[in-house]
């Protein structure tokens, strides 16, 4: 109990509060710029923390992380380009809302749902971290494969022109993810003798190209003066009361986000897609999804921020980094002499509680700063294209460069931008499936192969492990069930006509 009190005192020191205020602001800026990602933001500020005390340093980085994951949605909503990969699912409905003139409502929903997701995950972090961590460990290669597979089934539902085209894009993305060094065998694949391709095609430049650059090209071609044409902008905000109808969607999506976050190796983007799919499946108005549904937005936003708190669980309880950001956070702790591990709780309980409570405070700070940010950002809709497009392209190129400090990522982004632009011109509108496959391809392939090594080549491993089996059944069911429903509707309509 006095550990909790000491950590409360730690959180509310001047330096920690300033760190969180500053971090949230920085994170919000970094996340909203297409081309700069959350992990880049955290990495760039890591050196700053060496001179600070441990709690303020870590809270600075955590604030950057939370805000960046949220603010990626801002540019997804306003200019149809995700600021971070976590916001890719936001594309599905965010920009559609802006085109209807409802950008303000979308932005408010995004902020409010994100904060709720973040706070819920913070509470779970505080209350159940060790138990969840141990549970997450039971996920082995077979389970990761099943999870990845479930993620891939989203492709079937997300493509607006039909399952076949979605699958084509998915296969393309999956193939792209195999380029480079094959981690399981160590040999290189499809590098075409180009040294740079040995690194493979990274998510971030691909995302920048597929969505940001391609969108800019499309805007240039259309010659429009403003991104959303001449739509009248609805200045109505979204009050908390208006959020009530969405509370069960938000709750379910947050839980999904927390599960995905607690499992090392899966991230916000995946969580957002899974939440979207689940929400659509149980929605009363699934036809609105993809056309500008606030409900869809509430699902994706709460899920991707719910990942942030849960991602801290394996790091704080077991010393295992779940993704690039937590790896950097661990580095930040290590260099302060506080190497995370199973005994961090015992040796440094106060620090751990400081982090957990600080996380909750950071989310609240994010809410207030977000409200400010939205006020500023909504004006972006009014900026003429001839200013907006060059600036966005510039940010994209520099951001891609900053990923690895090399022009390789920029070239990847450009190539993907050109391909995406041409593909969307000639038959395939919605390219989200490509990114889903690029992200999930490695998880599916590598864990499939690992599972087979463990089982000695026998595929029964996928059907004898309970969690794996359950996930596979849910995935298959989620594809088959809508088909059955549609078939039933058709046959009952046909019999009605007959009568």
């Amino acid at each position: 109990m006095d550990m909790l009190l000491s950590s409360l005192a730690n959180v509310f020191t001047l330096s920690a509060i300033l760190a969180m205020l500053g971090g949230s602001a920085v994170g919000m800026l970094i996340g909203s710029m297409p081309g700069l990602s959350a992990s880049m933001g955290v990495a760039l500020f890591l050196p700053f923390t060496f001179g600070m005390d441990a709690s303020s340093g870590i809270l600075l980085l955590i604030s950057i992380y939370c805000s960046a994951i949220y603010s990626g949605s801002i540019s997804a909503i306003l200019i149809n380009t995700p600021g971070t990969s976590a916001a890719t699912a936001t594309l599905l409905d965010g920009f559609a809302l802006t085109k209807k003139g409802k950008a303000r409502k979308a932005l408010d929903m995004s902020l409010q749902a994100s904060v709720i997701g973040g706070l819920l995950s913070g509470v779970v972090l505080l209350a159940f971290a060790p138990q969840i961590a141990r549970w997450a460990l039971t996920f082995g290669p077979a389970e990761y494969f099943a999870l990845g597979l479930m993620g891939l089934t989203i492709i079937a539902g997300v493509s607006s022109e039909g399952v076949v085209k979605g699958l084509v894009l998915g296969c393309f993305g999956f193939f792209i993810s195999t380029i480079g060094v094959d981690p399981v065998s160590g040999i290189t694949r499809f590098t075409l003798g180009v040294k740079d391709l040995i690194s493979g095609v990274d998510q971030i430049p691909a995302m920048i190209g597929l969505f940001a650059i391609a969108e800019m090209f499309t805007q240039i071609e259309s010659g429009a003066m403003r991104l959303t044409g001449d739509v009248k902008i609805d200045k109505d905000r979204l009050s908390w009361r208006e959020m009530l109808p969405f509370k069960s969607v938000i709750l379910k999506s947050s839980v999904i986000g927390m599960i995905v976050g607690a499992i090392p190796g899966t991230g916000s983007g995946t969580a957002a897609f899974l939440a979207y799919k689940t929400a659509k499946g149980s929605s009363k108005h699934p036809e609105e999804y993809g056309q500008g549904s606030l409900e869809a937005l509430s699902a994706t936003e709460s899920a991707n921020n719910a990942v942030t708190g849960a991602a801290l669980i394996p790091m704080l309880t077991l010393g295992i980094p779940g993704d690039a950001v937590t790896a950097i956070l661990m580095g930040g702790l290590t260099i302060q002499g506080l190497a995370p591990g199973p005994q961090l709780f015992e040796k440094n309980g106060v620090l751990v509680y400081t982090i957990m409570i600080g996380f909750l405070v950071a989310n609240i700070i994010m809410y207030f700063e977000g409200k400010l940010a939205i006020r500023g950002f909504s004006k972006i809709c009014n900026i003429p294209n001839y200013i907006l497009i060059p600036v966005v392209i510039c940010c994209c190129l520099v951001g891609a460069f900053a990923v690895h400090n090399s022009l390789y990522a920029v070239k990847v982004a450009l190539v993907f931008g050109i391909i995406a632009y041409l593909i969307s011109r000639f038959g395939y509108k919605n390219l989200v499936a490509v990114l889903i496959a690029i992200i999930l391809g490695p998880i599916v392939e590598q864990n499939f192969r690992r599972a087979l090594v463990l089982s000695g080549g026998s595929p029964s491993i996928f059907f004898t492990r309970p969690i794996c089996l359950v996930i596979i059944l849910i995935s298959v069911g989620s594809i088959v069930w809508p088909l059955i429903k549609a078939h039933k509707k058709r046959t009952s309509a046909a019999t009605k006509v007959e009568k």
Partner: protein, 347 residues
């Protein structure tokens, strides 16, 4: 109603600006105090005929931010200005990915003026060139110095009936195709070291390859693989908490928490299972510059703060000068190249 919300907005905005500038200022003053130190080693420096360094030095790290190698580079980065003849600013630049090739190529093609150096661990120079995809090889670069070395180990769960390397070998021979171990890469240091044992003893084991040590640790803790083969530093916390025990030392460095584990050398194999960390410079960098850097690093490793930070990470400073370091890199490379061929990874 409007007035008060405006006021709140103003206050928040001011707080924002204040905090961002405070954060930026507090950290930049930290770096400037470091580089503001007097020329403490000017008297010792034998480089009276060069005025190195006179510009900012870049340390290229072909690893992601936050990882062990990156942290070590940053520890050195923070201390270098104090120990070099003239204090200049040092920047660490991460260029991860692609089997370290993009990062190393950047240094390989840089001017040999001492303003671009690389911080490397074992793989980039002692392993990757053997796969045949690089322009450079193990001795293309000019070595500067080694700063630390830790052993890779094989660990099992504390309640496992296996207590020594011999138990392990006997068990595997008695139960072929059953035992599994996790490792962070097919061509990484622990796997190549362990593979020499596996090939020699003709062991039928399941090698489950992950992306890096932390994934192996996760799998090991979850019971999905029977053994962990990787850095001793990453498993140390679990040995101390009693959940795991180390039964085989793939390298030569011995620490308290696995003092009883038999080493590969004791089993009769050439030692290649240590993960070293050190610095190298582009090819043909002048000897005088190398000596300045080498000297600075040697003194940094005696600095109290540095020893303390390294010890928190589970490491001891181990210094090798440029000739010895290059020899280590090359000796490792020769043996690794053989194993890679035996594993069938190259034609």
């Amino acid at each position: 109603m409007k007035k008060s919300s405006r006021l709140v907005t103003m206050i928040l905005a001011l707080a924002l600006v204040a905090s961002v500038s405070l954060t930026a200022c507090s950290s930049s003053t930290d770096t400037t105090t470091a580089s503001g130190a007097p020329d403490s080693t000017a008297a010792d420096s034998t480089a009276a005929n060069t005025d190195y360094p006179k510009e900012a030095i870049q340390i290229i790290v072909p690893y992601s931010a936050g990882g062990n190698t990156d942290l070590m580079a940053r520890i050195i980065e923070m201390k270098l200005p104090e120990y070099l003849p003239n204090s200049v600013s040092i920047a660490t630049v991460n260029i991860p990915g692609g089997s370290y090739i993009p990062g190393m190529t950047e240094v390989y093609t840089a001017d040999p003026d001492g303003y671009t150096i690389a911080c490397v661990a074992g793989s980039p120079l002692s392993i990757v060139p053997a796969m045949g995809e690089t322009d450079y090889t193990h001795d293309s670069f000019t070595a500067i110095a080694m700063i630390t070395s830790f052993a890779n180990v094989v660990a099992v769960k504390a309640d496992s009936p296996l207590n020594s390397a011999q138990d392990l070998i006997d068990y595997i021979k008695a139960n072929p195709g059953e035992f599994s171990y996790g490792v962070g890469g097919t061509t990484n240091t622990p796997n190549l070291a362990l593979s020499s044992l596996i090939i020699e003893e003709e062991l039928d084991v399941k090698s489950v390859v992950y992306n890096g040590n932390s994934e192996v640790l996760t799998a090991f803790l979850g019971g999905h693989v029977d053994a962990y083969a990787g850095a001793s530093t990453d498993i140390r916390a679990y040995v101390e908490s009693g959940e795991a025990k180390i039964i085989l030392n793939l390298g030569t460095v011995v620490e308290d928490y696995y003092a009883d584990a038999v080493t590969m050398e004791e089993l009769g194999y050439v030692a290649i299972g240590d993960s070293y960390t050190g610095f190298v410079a582009p090819p043909d960098t002048p000897e005088e510059i190398i000596l300045i850097l080498e000297n600075a690093i040697k003194e940094i490793l005696q600095d109290e703060d540095v020893v303390a930070t390294l010890s928190d990470m589970g490491l001891q400073p181990v210094f090798l000068d440029h000739t010895e370091f290059q020899k280590m890199i090359s000796d490792y490379y020769v043996r690794n190249e053989e194993i890679i061929k035996l594993l069938g990874l190259t034609e």
